[in-house]
């Protein structure tokens, strides 16, 4: 099968859906002729024109709020916000409007807004260009939150997002954009709330997201050599969260580690741990462990930056420690 990058995969998904559905339009800074800061709309301006690939002023709250009204009146806006840090300025429009319109209106209106853009620590981007935010969005009702780790999932989930009637946050880790993997040419969709078992294993369950899937995979072989068989699960969407797949795995392994780049408090790992403790209590042979990035803003300097992100050796050590429990 051909291999394409994460970026190419999402570009394909978007272009295919735009070709099919004239109600889709994209808004963002530099997503018109320029094709997006991360090439997320490369070439689409020439295909679909300026109304459907609309460059915006720097007014995140404004164009996210606009998207709500547009979605309520029959179009399907894609907001390409570049860095997720920027749409904190639009948090009110997302949490109090977009996520609630369906409910507030007793189901009379829908707000199929797709909010997409980059997350993640790396390349000394500094603390205003490194946030991830998915735990925050997963906390609130009314939003789908997608955090793909590879090109295949990204394509299938972006297509699903563009066919969903609910608002979706589609968050793309910067460091994954140029990573390749096999992606079929044929049409496919991936449903929300369906985890992927990245690698089967028997001794310990590791749940990892986005970049951490790759960091964990890196140490799995090594651990195999040490006699530890890791089952690695990528939830792919954090809202909804596919807790069943995780529970099934823990039922088998009895041990669970959640590896997540972003903050621990009230994070994804906390939610998974709480649910597994509740529903898989008798399966647990050891405490559930979380390995998160440091609970601090993201520093700029490379050695500091590396220190606040879970590194493969730390992951390996956590797994060993958990096996020793």
């Amino acid at each position: 099968m051909r291999e394409i990058t994460f970026m190419q995969a999402t570009l394909e998904a978007l272009s295919e859906e735009m070709a099919k559905n004239p109600k889709i339009f994209v808004m963002g800074e530099g997503i018109g002729k320029r094709g997006g800061n991360f090439n997320t709309t490369k070439g689409l301006f020439d295909l679909y024109g300026p109304d459907r690939l609309c460059d915006t002023p720097i007014c995140e709250r404004g164009f996210v709020g606009l998207a709500a009204g547009a979605a309520m009146t029959g179009t399907r806006p894609v907001i390409d916000f570049m860095f997720a840090d920027f749409i904190l300025d639009a948090a009110g429009e997302i949490i109090n409007q977009i996520a609630k319109i369906q409910y507030m209106s007793g189901g009379r209106l829908k707000a199929p807004v797709l909010l997409r853009g980059c997350i993640g620590i790396g390349h000394s981007a500094g603390t205003h260009h490194s946030g991830s935010y998915y735990p925050m969005y997963a906390h609130f009702p009314g939003l789908r939150v997608v955090v793909p780790s590879n090109a295949y999932d990204a394509k299938g989930l972006l297509k699903q997002s563009l066919n969903s009637n609910d608002p979706v946050l589609f968050l793309e880790h910067k460091s994954l954009l140029t990573k390749k993997c096999p992606v079929p040419e044929e049409e496919f969709l991936i449903p929300f709330g369906k985890a992927r078992i990245v690698q089967k294993g028997a001794d310990v369950t590791v749940v990892a997201l986005a970049m951490m899937v790759h960091q964990t995979l890196e140490v799995c072989k090594q651990l195999e050599g040490e006699g530890v068989s890791v089952e690695l699960i990528d939830p792919r969407t954090v809202a909804p969260m596919d807790i069943e797949t995780i529970l099934d795995s823990v039922h088998k392994t009895g041990r669970l580690l959640i590896v997540d780049e972003t903050f621990a408090p009230c994070g994804i790992g906390a939610e998974i741990a709480a649910q597994v403790n509740d529903r898989g209590f008798d399966d647990l042979d050891a405490p559930i462990r979380r390995l998160n990035g440091a609970h601090s803003p993201t520093p700029y300097s490379p050695p500091l930056e590396a220190a606040v992100v879970p590194q493969p050796d730390r992951i390996a050590q956590e797994i060993r420690d958990l096996m020793a429990e």
Binding site: D51, G65, G69, L109
Partner: protein
Amino acid sequence: MNNLELEKKLDLYRGMRTIRECEERLVRSHQRGLIPGPCHTYIGQEAVAVGVCACLRNDDVIFSTHRGHGHAIAKGLHPRELMAEVFGRATGCSGGRGGSMHLFAPEVGLMGTSGIVGPSILQATGAGYSFKVLKTDQVSVAFFGDGAVNNGAFHEGLNMATIWNLPVLFVCENNQFATEVPFHYSSGNPSVAARGAAYGLPGVEVDGNDVLAVYEVAGEAIQRARSGEGPTLIECKTYRTRPHAEGMDDYSYRTREEVDEWKSRDPILRLREILVADNESMKENLGAMDTEVKALIDEAEKFAEESPYPDPLTAEDHVFSANSRKIDHA
């Protein structure tokens, strides 16, 4: 405007009377403790909603605020559905989920009211953008108070609508206060209409208690919008003659005299006087209409009071689409 045909004027009268009657009833219900939540009436400002909405088609859309009863009815929401919603009943326009500040009726172009100040401006801009993408000739209206003018949403919304030449009307109801804070305190610039210039869009000031003037100004702006000439900002100078919300103090920040002065400029009385001045026998017609409206609202109130509350088991419905299942393993 006096050459406006009589029938239209009577429609405007009926529209304003309907809102007023409905809200006076809500006031009393609130005092009697029958309304569970907050209730911001539109009393005194009816000319704005009615004047603007009379120029709109059913498929045009409006977005409104916490003070949205008037807009909702003017756009075509049946008072029954409004009252039932404010009473928290299953038959309300939002199924009892919304309440006074969250009214939705897309089938008549009421795309929603918001408890948060600001979003109506952005959402109306978004509807205008939809109409551009869909290549329809619909028009979108944002209603908002003077309190929203110094909010970033105003700035961002008006600018986007201008640069993309969207079919949007920005209708500011300057009733001089945001709760108790006067506009002249909050705003470095005493004129809202003049701010249009900052974005390169026309800004018009109009007497918001004169429904014929509002109708004229809005009609022109809507015509411009519909024919692709872009957005307009309209500042309607008006006044609410009831407290900010029912049950709140009213004379800590303004005087009884000022309120009374404005009551004498009541938009309904004013139109009535014009109609009667034109034709003395009109009094009877208007009287009959008042009675009709009263009957309509009687019926609506009864409907609301007799409607069932929503089933608590449905409390979590409609969070997501697809039969509100929370997880769609599609």
